[in-house]
């Protein structure tokens, strides 16, 4: 006939209730952290993927450059193009101004990494060119 005091049961339930509130709070905090982490990771992933596709695809960059250099407009330009492991160097001692305009517009309107570019005027219609593109 020894019974547990109902007050003890209520206190126990109250303690369990407090623990549950604490757990709920922790779960909400965890959810908030996970959501923030997910959003941040997704943002980094999308940006990185897009930038990698633009600047990191070596084969695609090389192909595009080769296509530009083989263009009929530049056949008579007398360009000296050297493909290296991670760069392309284009040189000319006297490029015609029309060819120069064509080449520069093609390069800057694409997403190539131009690491250096030097154009020196040598006559009203000709210029000396040095350009390096990296990948």
């Amino acid at each position: 006939m020894n019974r547990i005091n109902p007050i003890y049961i209520l206190v126990l339930l109250f303690v369990v209730l407090l623990v549950m509130f604490y757990k709920l709070d922790s779960a909400k905090a965890e959810l908030k952290t996970n959501l923030a982490s997910y959003a941040k990771t997704e943002n980094v992933a999308i940006k990185l993927s897009s930038l990698k596709e633009t600047y990191g695809d070596k084969q695609k960059i090389k192909k595009s450059l080769q296509k530009i250099l083989k263009h009929s407009s530049l056949k008579s330009a007398g360009l000296n193009a050297k493909f290296k492991n991670s760069s392309l160097v284009i040189e000319s001692k006297g490029i015609d101004k029309n060819n120069l305009n064509f080449l520069i517009s093609k390069i800057v309107n694409s997403s190539f990494v131009v690491s250096s570019m030097k154009v020196r005027r040598i006559s009203p219609s000709k210029a000396e060119l040095f350009m390096e593109i990296r990948w």
Binding site: M1, N2, R3, N5, P6, I7, I9, L10, L13, F14, V16, L17, M20, F21, K23, L24, A27, K28, E30, L31, N34, L35, S37, Y38, K40, T41, E42, V44, A45, I46, K47, L48, S49, L51, K52, T54, Y55, G56, V108, S111, V113, V114, S116, M117, K118, V119, R120, R121
Partner: protein, 311 residues
């Protein structure tokens, strides 16, 4: 009928002398008629549970105000019941007075159920006797009636009609206790479900985040990915600036004799030379560039106007 030979049987009445018990000795208690209210009633219900629901109402106008517990059992005749009302606290206080711990009480019975078989008035202790009047066990002082003998408690075989004392009924009304406890349990369950649901969502999002790594072919740590992203963003920003500045320079409207003789971009720095520009007439170049947000340093030397721009 159940015979409990192991435990001592005690008739509990406010007028009995103090009993001596061993510390761990268990007792069965028979409540004196002075500790409860009893009625014999005939009710048109066959279920004892239904009868119990009616008990507070049946005693409502008869007994004084107090915190009562109720009990009932069938008399043996159809639809006839013995119904009881008793104050747990009064009984418990009497047990305390008798130095009987509640933990030592094995069972509690009514005198009504245990003494119903006596034929004549019987002496129960030095001062009191019991007898049956109209099927109800009544307690009277000894001198009121003539007893035929003394009731030997050790010969009593206890019936199955017993009650549980509500030790805390006077502190917390059991209905309120059940109400509060039920509400708390429901709340705990709701919170538990909520916690489970939120935790599952959190885990789901954590899994989705892990999937991003394989979907986008990322490096294993965010530290590495952030470093790579920073490198590419730096390249992108510089290239955008280079194109913006190149466009601004190539779109300059030069005067008739003015020529751009050099454009040199190297190590994130652009140098541009102009010939034919008069020393004090450079504003058509500098002001246009400033308007386009190009930050530069200019100087004029040997007829050459130079600009230096840092990316």
């Amino acid at each position: 009928m159940r015979f409990n030979a192991k435990h001592k049987l005690l008739f509990l009445d406010p007028n009995i002398d103090k009993v001596s018990l061993h510390v761990e000795e268990k007792v069965n208690i028979i409540l004196s008629p002075s500790l409860y209210w009893v009625k014999k009633v005939t009710l048109p219900v066959s279920n004892l549970r239904d009868v119990k629901k009616l008990l507070p109402t049946l005693f409502e106008d008869i007994i004084p105000d107090g915190v009562y517990s109720y009990s009932a059992y069938k008399s043996g005749i159809d639809s006839e019941y013995f119904i009881f009302a008793y104050e747990d606290k009064k009984i418990l206080d009497l047990l305390v007075k008798q130095n009987i711990p509640i933990s030592n009480v094995s069972s509690v019975h009514f005198a009504q159920s245990e003494f119903s078989g006596i034929k004549n008035a019987m002496k129960i202790n030095e001062r009191q006797s019991v007898y049956i009047k109209d099927d109800i066990v009544v307690l009277v002082p000894c001198c009121w009636i003539e007893e035929k003998g003394e009731l030997d408690l050790s010969s009593i075989t206890l019936s199955k009609h017993k009650v549980s004392l509500q030790q805390f009924g006077h502190i917390v009304e059991m209905k309120s206790f059940y109400g509060i406890a039920s509400a708390m349990i429901v709340l705990i369950l709701i919170l538990g479900i909520e916690v489970f649901s939120i935790s599952s969502k959190a885990q789901n999002i954590a899994d989705k985040r892990d999937n991003i790594f394989s979907t986008y072919n990322l490096k294993p740590t965010m530290f590495e990915n952030n470093a790579i992203l920073k490198k590419y963003e730096n390249i992108h920003n510089k290239q955008m600036l280079f194109r913006k500045y190149l466009s601004s320079i190539l779109n300059l409207k030069l005067k008739k004799d003015e020529k751009m003789t050099l454009f040199n971009f190297k190590n994130n720095s652009i140098k541009v030379n102009f010939s034919g520009v008069l020393k004090n007439k450079t504003s058509h170049i500098s002001s246009v560039l400033k308007d386009k947000g190009v930050k530069f340093v200019d100087n004029y030397k040997n007829g050459i106007y130079s600009l230096e721009i840092e990316l």
